[in-house]
């Protein structure tokens, strides 16, 4: 199957053209990848245990927003690509049926028409996803697809290369944005668990569901919870203190 094969020559080329990432990964990794792949936006998300942990980088603000939608809902090409260990392609988000209703709406509202996720596979493990976004509908060209496989291959190894140099128990500084950007989400989750006596996982689901129902980003809602402008009641109903 053509979709899964990484081309050695492309890997070599991508590795060369992406030198210099090391110094400023957050700014250049996604922007340079978007230039190589000739797409509107590129995001790199990390996943742990099949759950999105947040983005290492996004090439621009629109991409950042769409990455946020995937994270808020815990659904989209990134999650599925990691789960299926295969590229997941959505050439027209307006035509997708039955899959990621929330993600499709959010991405379309941000002006994105096509999205795809390429798993960051290292050996048997998927550590994240390379996400491509396009403003016009249509499949990736063969070239783009092959290059995306190569970029995902290189990025996966690069991420682990960074992590291999990190002090024990810590996240590599290049990846620091992933946990720190989401701190308020996890704090809010802990608060909601205490407010509702739900488990942590259920508390996160409550937060997600609320953000989705209100068409807001999860970070936004989490900010309200931590700022004590919003609390969740034990019986389920939400009490807005604002």
């Amino acid at each position: 199957m053509s979709s899964g094969r990484v081309d050695a020559e492309r890997v070599a080329r991508v590795t060369v053209s992406l030198r210099g990432w090391e110094r400023d990964p957050q700014r250049s990794l996604c922007a340079q990848s978007a230039a190589i792949l000739d797409v509107a936006g590129v995001g790199v998300a990390l996943l742990s245990g099949g759950q999105p942990m947040g983005s290492v980088c996004a090439s621009d603000t629109v991409t950042g927003k769409v990455e946020e939608v995937q994270y808020t809902l815990g659904e989209g090409p990134a999650v599925d690509a990691c789960h299926e260990r295969e590229p997941v392609l959505a050439p027209d988000l307006a035509e997708v049926t039955g899959r990621w209703p929330g993600f499709c709406n959010g991405a379309l509202a941000a002006g994105i028409r096509a999205a795809s996720g390429f798993p960051l596979l290292v050996g048997a493990i998927c550590i994240g996803s390379l996400n491509l976004y396009q403003t016009a509908p249509g499949p990736l060209r063969e070239e783009q697809h092959a290059d995306a496989l190569a970029v995902a291959h290189v990025v996966g190894r690069m991420v682990l290369g960074w992590q291999s140099l990190a002090p024990a128990g810590e996240v590599a500084w290049q990846l620091e944005q992933v946990p720190s950007h989401r701190a308020s989400v996890h704090q809010a989750t802990g608060m909601i668990a205490a407010q509702t006596r739900a488990t942590i996982d259920d508390a996160l689901s409550l937060l997600r569901a609320y953000a989705f129902a209100e068409s807001r980003s999860i970070s936004d809602v989490a900010g309200d919870v931590v700022g004590r402008r919003l609390r969740f009641g034990e019986g389920g109903p939400l009490i807005d203190l604002a």
């Binding site: 990390l46 048997a124 308020s184 996890h186 704090q187 668990a193």
Partner: protein, 250 residues
């Protein structure tokens, strides 16, 4: 199949190991068989060093070769050992030469029907991972360009093996990354839970968490997990605060 085509195919297969998940033993088995097809040799075998640096049998083109290699391992002498130790190709030019170099091993090799023996190291820069044994029933010693081709195949195979080893340690790094991310998550969750239950802000909750972990000589993430799991009551953290000589700091 034409020799050139076969050489090309062998190298493409070798290069594939750079980008694919592959089975090392399968791959080495193929390499041994291709050596017999491409070079003027009767049998080929590959030995790889284990974590302690001792050679182990990995793959070979025939059962007879396997027995000879096992014997070589037992006697700890022979071309494979020499190539591995010196990181240079080893070519025995005659029976007498072989007899003089490996007095115990050589007679057994001749008994098995081989007349000339050679080996090339599997190396990448200073890293020697093993050696490729090439035995022939004819008396002609292996020479260039066959020797060169054998070394080139061994070199590319080495890159594949080293990459595979790197990927295996990558799995350790990906678990480390996952653990580091998870502990950050659980610490933030515990901060939120404490803030809510104790009616403090998240910074104060973190200070309490850290103080408790320090006082009890436990990892922050371990204490955080206990709080999330309900094994440690938030009040316990608050209570500890009074025991701290807070005023004496500075």
């Amino acid at each position: 199949m034409a020799r050139e085509t076969l050489i090309l195919r062998t190298f493409v297969a070798l290069a594939d190991t750079l980008v694919d998940d592959y089975d090392v033993i399968d791959f080495l088995q193929g390499l041994a068989e291709n050596c017999v097809a491409l070079l003027d040799v009767t049998a080929a075998g590959i030995m790889l060093a284990d974590a302690k640096g001792s050679l182990r049998h990995a793959a070979c083109s025939s059962e007879q070769m396997r027995l000879v290699e096992l014997l070589e391992l037992q006697l700890e002498q022979g071309p494979c050992f020499e190539a591995f130790r010196t990181a240079k190709p080893v070519v025995s030019t005659s029976r007498d030469d072989a007899q003089a170099r490996w007095p115990q091993f050589a007679p057994r090799v001749f008994e098995a029907g081989f007349a000339s023996v050679s080996a090339v190291p599997m190396r990448l820069r200073s890293n020697v991972v093993g050696a490729l044994n090439l035995f022939s029933s004819g008396v002609t010693a292996l020479e260039d360009p066959d020797l060169e081709l054998a070394q080139a195949m061994a070199d590319v195979a080495t890159i594949g093996i080293l990459q595979e080893q790197a990927i295996r340690s990558s799995q350790a790094y990906s678990s480390q990354l996952e653990a580091a991310l998870d502990s950050r998550v659980v610490i933030e969750q515990a901060k939120g839970m404490l803030a809510e239950k104790l009616g403090v802000d998240v910074d104060e909750a973190f200070a309490l968490l850290r103080r408790y972990a320090r006082d009890h000589n436990r990892l922050l993430s371990v204490v955080a997990r206990q709080i999330i799991a309900g094994e440690l009551q938030p009040g316990a953290l608050h209570g500890d605060r009074t025991h701290q000589p807070q005023q004496n700091r500075r």
